[in-house]
């Protein structure tokens, strides 16, 4: 045990002196995690706000045909009528106007005759501003339609209520915490898995392929230490940096949420409960241990730092792709067997926990598979480390 600790101590000291590891395992999680999380929320927040407050610039093709409609639109707070009188499609494409309306030439006479008049609203749906403007115009037109209908009915001596057979009201039973958790669940779980890999990546390469590249490996193997002890010490060092990285990223994010809580102006609560944070920490640590073993097993095959990075890239994609895809699918309800896939199950569990809907069987299944994965990874790394053909690959 003493020898294992000697190896561990040396690797940690070496890692601390390596700028690359320091950046990826310490600085990045501390800085990046809050910046990305808070930053992306602030960005969404400001976008939502600015879209709501923006005035829609709308052109009317045949303004003189529908003076009453134009007057109504002009009276709307968030709509301004553009001076542009021709070439609407190009102007819409270039963004000079955000939407335009065409009315039939006999608009006013149709109205007085009590006939329906078709009003077309043109928008470019791929432009956020345009579709937003069109929506504002449509809402305004619906109100205008309603007003006209009410006028018609009352002038005919009928109760305007007569047209309303049912009244639709929608209610959301999702709690504020659930809504906030839903948003957090799209980003946060992926980053925890990401940091549990990234945190140990450079350390794993440095202690294995790096040792080969610097040509120190043979001298190390000649010492009385058994291969098992060497690899255990190295594995512990890699796991330590990965765990540090995950713990730092979770705590710094937690702190950031407490200091600068995002405010959407609507009823969202970004409340990271303590039990969620604890679950993230525990699972993050086991994940780090598992990935440390796998990274070490992969990196030891390589002769040099560069080669190790080449080997790790596909492994990294293999681990991160499913995770990022599943975490970005909104409202995906995983079947039970999906909780058997390590790291993907962690994402599902984090999501559940963030929305306050944890299921015990899911927790047990996730923790168990991750621990089994970690054991397989450690055994594989040890086995590979005692293979002559891997250690002395010329």
């Amino acid at each position: 045990m003493k020898e294992i600790l000697t190896v561990w101590k040396k690797e940690i000291k070496d890692t601390l002196r390596d700028r690359r590891t320091l950046y990826t395992a310490v600085i990045m999680p501390i800085v990046l995690m809050p910046v990305i999380m808070i930053g992306s929320f602030k960005l969404q927040e400001s976008q939502i706000k600015s879209l709501e407050q923006q005035t829609a610039i709308v052109a009317v093709a045949n303004e003189s045909a529908a003076p009453s409609l134009v007057a109504f639109l002009k009276s709307q707070e968030k709509i301004s009528i553009s001076e542009i009188k021709s070439d609407f499609e190009n102007k819409l494409n270039s963004g000079e106007i955000q939407a335009y309306i065409t009315t039939p030439d006999d608009f006013e006479s149709l109205l007085t005759a009590g006939q329906p008049a078709t009003v077309r609203v043109y928008q470019k749906s791929t432009e956020q501003k345009s579709s937003n403007a069109a929506q504002k115009v449509q809402t305004a037109l619906a109100v205008y339609n309603q007003t006209l209908s009410v006028q018609k009915l009352s002038s005919a001596g009928l109760d305007p209520q007569a047209l309303q057979s049912i009244v639709v009201e929608s209610k959301d039973i999702a709690t504020e915490q659930e809504k906030g958790g839903y948003f957090l669940g799209m980003l946060l779980p992926m980053f925890i898995v990401l940091f549990s890999i990234m945190g140990g990546m450079y350390a794993a390469i440095d202690v294995s392929a790096g040792e080969k590249e610097r040509k120190t490996l043979e001298a190390l193997l000649i010492t009385p230490l058994s291969r098992f002890r060497i690899v255990t010490g190295k594995f512990m060092a890699v796991a330590t940096t990965a765990i540090t990285s995950v713990v730092l990223s979770i705590t710094s994010m937690y702190a950031a949420f407490k200091i600068w809580p995002p405010d959407f102006g609507i009823s969202f609560v970004f409340d990271l409960s303590l039990s969620t944070v604890v679950l993230m920490l525990v699972l993050g640590i086991i994940l780090s241990i598992m990935f440390a073993g796998f990274l070490l097993a992969v990196a030891i095959f390589a002769k040099s730092f560069k080669e190790a990075q080449n080997y790790i890239t596909p492994f990294y994609l293999l681990a991160i792709l499913p995770v990022s895809i599943f975490s970005s699918i909104p409202g995906f309800k995983p079947p039970l067997w999906m909780f058997l896939i390590p790291s993907v199950n962690a994402v599902f569990l984090f999501k559940e926990s963030l929305m306050g809907q944890t299921v015990w069987s899911h927790i047990i299944l996730t923790v168990a598979t991750t621990i089994i994965g970690a054991i397989i990874a450690i055994v594989a790394a040890t086995k590979i480390f005692s293979k002559e053909s891997v250690l002395f690959r010329d």
């Binding site: 020898e3 040509k215 120190t216 043979e218 190390l220 009385p224 080997y311 895809i325 995906f332």
Partner: protein, 299 residues
Amino acid sequence: MPLLEVKNLSKTFTSKKGEIVAVDNVSFSADKGEIFGLLGPNGAGKTTTIRLIATVLKPTGGTVMVDGHDILADSEAVRKNIGVLTTDIGLYDRFTARENLRYFGELYGMSGQKLEERIDELIEVLEMTDFADRKAGKFSTGMKQKVAIARSIIHDPKVIIFDEPTAGLDVLASQTVVRFMQKAKAMGKLVILSTHEMYDAEKLCDRIGIIHRGRLRVIDTVSHLESSTGTDNLEDAFLKIVHGQTGSAVVRQRSLKEKKPRIFSSRGLVIGGKTFAWWRLAILFAAAVILIVQFLVKK
């Protein structure tokens, strides 16, 4: 019993394309107070022999006894009793010379005051005082070699094995190494010197074993080697013994490298001689995952 006893040692590397005999039934013994030379061209099997003695590789035949310990039965005790300077000398770049030595001392079970004293002693003997507390990353070859030598003997082993210790060193640095070997011999150590430098071998070694194509051709003192071959210097004697077959040894070494089959290359996956680039595999994989996910979501 002699300090080092090599008995019918063999090592065959197996690959899919066949077997390569790197060390072929080598036997010799050497005792304390001696410098024993292993002389041979590049790729003759010297380094493999040393790696077998050092228990880094496992022999396919025969064994070695180091101070009564068998390399197969008690490899840990063997490693404690030998100090090996490998051909590839590498140091931990971010550690100072002293820190490099301290780490290895600890790995050999040394600690505290005793270890520090040993480090100081070696720094003085090998003339490393000027750079002992500087980071090893910027050391010259000579400086590195000195630290590597100190590292290999930090635990004061009975058997010292030096593999090409003066390769790439200038005259001054090799002088230090040569003097160190002579001093070790005087202290009653067994020094095994593996080299292809005739001059060093001639000057230093009490006995020389000429190794060629994995086989030990002859073991004798320098003067006997010269007289038995009717030459007046070691180089001519050496050439006569190996019959100028150096070329074939190099070819053998090269074929050994080529014969290693690879599945994971740095460019991609090699299946049936074809390479599938990593990035293609990554895209394929991504596409597969997306398809599966879409399928699941639709369900």
